[in-house]
Amino acid sequence: MAGKQPEEKEKRQKEWYRLDNAAVVYSAIQKERYSAVYRFSAVMDQPVDPAALQRAVDKTMPRFPGFRVRIKQGVFWYYSEFNDAPGPFVQKDISNCCQPVRFDQDDGWLVRFFYYERRISLEVFHAISDGAGAMTLLRTLLAVYLRELGYQIPNTCGVLDVDKPPRPEELEDAYARYATVKARRFTTLKKAYPNAGTAEPFYTLNVTMGFCSVRQLKEKAREHGASITEYLTAVLLKVLVDQQRRERPKKELPVALAIPINLRPWFPTESLRNFILTVRPCIDPGLGEYTFEEIVSQVHHYLRLNINRQQMQAELAGNVKFARNKLVQITPVVLKNPGVAFGYWMAGVRPFSGTYTNPGPFEVPEEMRPHIRRMEVILGQATMPRVHCASISYGDVMEITFAGTQKESDTERDFFRFLVRDGIHVKVESNRTQ
């Protein structure tokens, strides 16, 4: 094994991957004022042992070659290649997390590991993986870390075996594989209420987390005839509609959220790379006033109606078709970037008031459960000073994060006050310092 390693390493160095569609966009729009970096954290029952964590990272990363990459600029497209730099190294955590990546700095690492007290955090640049892929990496890392501490953890429940070689299926571009149907025609979306605040000085990320009980949330959501995701989406929409009304604009704009949908349940793939699409539940106050019950009902039916295999496949085919266009292909990447950035702004920023993502419950093997207190998720700064919302549940703890570069805390305040008024107990923690 030891003798084979240098040869294997040399072979790996030459490996490179085309970026998938999502990665093309995230690479093109990456800049100082926008961070397509998200963070998953696990709060353990004991303070973190950094040495054991570093050993766990060293053992885990070879199993995940898709995360061990750097992004380079080619003539026509960005591409990713195997990163042979030493590391990644675990770092002491910082208050302004999810900093933008710079492809030419920090040895080109697109994953970062942090520790603070009992918290282990993983930050991932969105071009290399989505939430589902990153959660697999973190789950496996936590299992290896706990083994380093002397516990017996089996490779079940989505923990990958780090002693086995990585499988090619995990590096698949699933978008390309399922883009087999006729593409859906691109439609322009209406401008939404931007929910923009006053920008903090560079570089600050205000993070506010709320913790509540999954059981309590589920009961409350059921009272409204909805799932937890639908209920929280509706609360956020309601809060934003009311907020816009308070600002007394000349014309009330629609309030719309970007909700990323993990495509794996519909299109089977082992891929750990990006495989998501977003849907856009929207409330247009221009049509009249909506009660909360009506918003819940809108969201509930919208999500059920629009998340289906055919519609999603047509949409992803449209995205892939763009990248296969001959004219687009032969345009140099420096010229393509502003085009992609403009397209992203038109289709991904302007028509939305914010993002809400719920990657679902974080499942771990029975043996790991006593060692993990709770899970957290944070989305990096948006293209403008406004909040992104994300939530993750673990056991009975639902964690909801609002993170953004704006000074104001109106959205999160109204959101959590709404939950409290609806009878849900919320505990709030934040990195804000007055």
Binding site: D93, I94, S95, K250, F416, K427, E429, R432
Partner: protein, 234 residues
């Protein structure tokens, strides 16, 4: 465990204020816990400054090479005429326009306008040297350049206020163009005849004003409508 009296949410024991509404936590019986670790670290990760110096250096080197190269070529190609002054002037102007804003992010508008005006004036001056045009440079070019700089400054100031509206921006842009050309004709007339007999610039100005009027009206309509509604509501 402390609670926020306004939001009703539970707060961390170490919290001194509510992060949602910034209300202070005041509990005489139990002051905030200063011993336990806070939920988030205090240290900020400092971001290294953007390596903009490299970009500025590359552009500077390119411009310098062009200037020096043309200067040398001038010694052999038509050495009787100092045509390279055109190129050298252009590179200086480009340097002041492009590299300076890269090096210094926050130059005040007035200073930047002065630099831009000086750059253009310098360029035209180099041209006038080549053409032995000291008289027209002082009599015609300098007033027009200064006038252009003044209009430009005014334009920038107005756009700073009205940049949110595309219609206002367009109206301001068109209006400034008309005003600028009016001044140009004034200076040309004064230079040629000593008087002022506005002709073509008046036509241009009229066109500009006529284009601006509908824009202003369109811009005003919602406010106008609101006004009518307020005064005639039943």
């Amino acid at each position: 465990m402390p609670y926020c009296v306004h939001c009703g949410v539970e707060l961390d024991g170490t919290a001194t204020f509510c992060p949602l509404c910034r209300t202070e936590v005041i509990d005489p019986g139990r002051p905030p816990d200063t011993q336990s670790p806070k939920p988030f670290p205090d240290e900020r990760g400092e971001v290294p400054p953007i390596p903009k110096g490299a970009v500025a250096a590359v552009i500077t080197a390119m411009l310098a090479c062009v200037a020096v190269g043309c200067g040398l070529l001038n010694l052999f190609l038509k050495p009787g005429r100092t045509w390279s002054l055109y190129v050298i002037g252009a590179t200086i102007m480009l340097w002041l326009w492009i590299v300076l804003p890269i090096l210094f992010k926050r130059i005040p508008l007035l200073v930047r306008s002065l630099i831009n005006v000086a750059a253009v004036a310098l360029y035209v001056y180099l041209m006038s040297v080549e053409l032995n045009g000291r008289a027209w440079y002082l009599g015609l070019a300098v007033p027009i350049i200064l006038w252009g700089g003044a209009v430009w400054l005014l334009l920038s100031l107005m756009l700073r206020v009205y940049h949110r509206s595309v219609i206002s921006s367009a109206a301001i842009l068109i209006g400034s163009l008309g005003v600028f050309l009016l001044g140009v004709e004034f200076f040309i007339d004064r230079w040629l005849t000593g008087g002022w007999d506005p002709s073509w610039s008046l036509v241009v100005l009229t066109i500009c004003v006529c284009t601006v009027i509908p824009l202003v009206i369109i811009r005003r309509i919602p406010a106008f409508r609101e006004e009518v509604r307020r005064r005639f509501h039943t």
